[in-house]
Symmetry: C2
């Protein structure tokens, strides 16, 4: 029923190969012929059959995008940006959701492998070795994890975590809690590592709680533990958990930031809307989505190009952090002044 290349060829009186070239290699066909063919194609509503094209060229013009959880507000901006970037280049994006499950993730890669030109693996929960194995079956770009041999896009979350800890230490906090993320998460490890060094450097103590599911209830579930641990400030793996924690603390009659300060990571839209407005490390999700698509589509032919992008993160200071408990406070007045809503301390790497 739909017009094929043969219909166009017949209509415009040329061979199908000429029609084909009109679309895939226009410079090889006489301008006159070209316009005639294009006119016929337009009139017949012809669109090249991508399956047929994929069959012979091996390029599908499709990209897979696997995320841990679509419903996690961190991902939609990333997906949106990736989709838009891909569409500009006439690519389409398969979106799939692993439900935070490494096994599902692996299945998804395998299922998608044959019908895409590459896969964007966002916040993977798999092991590095498995990712490397899979990358031999299909081009992979990994987002939110650093792996040596593969193209990767990461947020410089270590720097963000350091800024957050310094901010808290500057406010006089000496006992800081870290709500860890899910087990397989590179980002979680990275935050932990960086927070540990930063805490030590600030002469403070770090208590790690977790791993936890990276959502609101995962955060809420740690409230009691946080309280018992005696920390006066907390850095959470992401905003959702930070918000859950605030809710949980609230239910225990603990005030934020008066009794405990809370910092999140991601700066999802939500963090500006809750009360108190969340102090958080902003991660450029949309930029990451674009960068990942660019990276995947860049090395057109040359395999094994391993680019690495590290995206700047910023500390956005809002209302969920306040002075520490120390009677003769160490709080740096400069910091306290900077704690006005939406003040920004930023850092750029490379």
């Amino acid at each position: 029923m739909p017009a094929t290349i043969r219909d166009v060829a017949r209509e415009s009186g040329v061979h199908i190969s000429t029609v084909s070239r009109t679309f895939s290699a226009p410079h090889l066909v006489n301008p006159e012929t070209r316009t005639r063919v294009l006119a016929c194609a337009e009139q017949l509503g012809y669109r090249p059959n991508r399956a047929a094209r994929a069959l012979i060229t091996g390029r599908t013009y499709n990209v897979g995008l696997i995320v841990a959880d679509i419903a996690n507000p961190f991902f939609p901006p990333l997906i949106k940006a990736a989709e838009s970037q891909a569409r500009q280049r006439d690519y389409h994006i398969f979106v799939a959701d692993s439900n935070e499950d490494a096994a599902v993730e692996e299945d998804l890669v395998r299922a998608l492998a044959k019908q895409v030109d590459g896969i964007l693996l966002c916040s993977p929960r798999m092991s590095n070795s498995l990712i490397e194995l899979l990358s031999r079956e299909v081009p992979l770009v990994v987002v939110n994890r650093a792996i040596a041999g593969l193209p990767t896009v990461v947020m410089d979350v270590a720097q963000g975590a350091r800024l957050a800890v310094e901010h808290l230490a500057g406010l006089g906090h000496r006992s800081i809690g870290l709500i860890a993320g899910p087990r397989g998460s590179w980002t979680s490890k990275e935050i932990r590592r960086s927070a540990a060094t930063a805490t030590r450097a600030a002469d403070a103590e770090l208590t790690v709680i977790g791993p936890n599911p990276p959502n609101e209830s995962g955060g809420a579930a740690t409230a009691e533990q946080v309280l018992r641990s005696g920390v006066t400030a907390v850095l959470a793996y992401n905003d959702l958990m930070a918000i859950g924690l605030i809710e949980g603390l609230h239910a225990l009659r603990v005030r934020v930031p008066e009794d405990i300060s809370v910092v999140g990571i991601d700066d999802i839209a939500l963090s500006r809307l809750i009360h108190p407005k969340l102090t958080t490390v902003a991660t450029p999700a949309a930029a990451a989505g674009r960068a990942a698509v660019d990276m995947l589509l860049a090395h057109g032919d040359d395999r094994r190009t391993t680019a690495h992008a590290s995206l700047r993160t910023e500390l956005v200071i809002r209302d969920s952090t306040g002075p520490g408990p120390d009677p003769h406070s160490h709080a740096d007045p400069g910091y306290a002044a900077a704690a006005a809503p939406d003040a920004v301390a930023s850092y750029a790497k490379e």
Copy 2:
């Protein structure tokens, strides 16, 4: 490089057609042969090339999903559910975002048409006639709009709006505002229609404000207008706008719900997290996603099956609605009692 059907055939000593049948029509091949072929396939890591299959069968095992805005928290649960439902049947989902733009939407449908077995059109901004036109090129299931000749999934938002208005009227509000959604939205019209009747029935007055962009800033932008209009309660097109409005009112030193009551629609996760917790009409987004996929994949062969699903909505009463301003209040004590957090009034259609 990847194993083809020929490799499997050679390895297992049968003809390629037998291998093909092992996968697409197992009952036609001898159990013994079948297991042998499957073993070889497994060992070689063979996966049928979907492009080749699509080329000859015409079925791609792909589905398109077009939403107005991925970043709108209403959609992710819908996308997630649809993706999961589709994957169970070995389908993959292309996700695309129209940016609330009817023209982009049309382009997307056309671009996707040839490489999917059908498209889920969620909250379309196009005209009905254009949708009907496009449905002749590719099977369409429309979500959040009622169109006679096409399979559709709608939320019974009219009922939800009625419940919301009745709730407000019961609290003594006599002048109610409606923050309308975007221009092309069927849902917005539906809400308006239903709210108008319900308001009239309750002897109250309805002031419509809009159309507006269906996001937080769209809601915030109406704050002054709401204030000037003198209404004491507002029903917003969706939660995002309701939340934006609350923010906007807050900035104008207007308290919610003491001065003005606000009701949203959708019950996104966020609405439980802001302060005051939002009274809202819950719409079953995930169920809609599943239903739409089922509907698309159901009529395997028979074209022109036009199923219609109308999904139940519920009024979730939380903290953003309170008694109206009337000195000798008409507030029904029964209603006031029902206004405890998370009390639910529900309604089922068919």
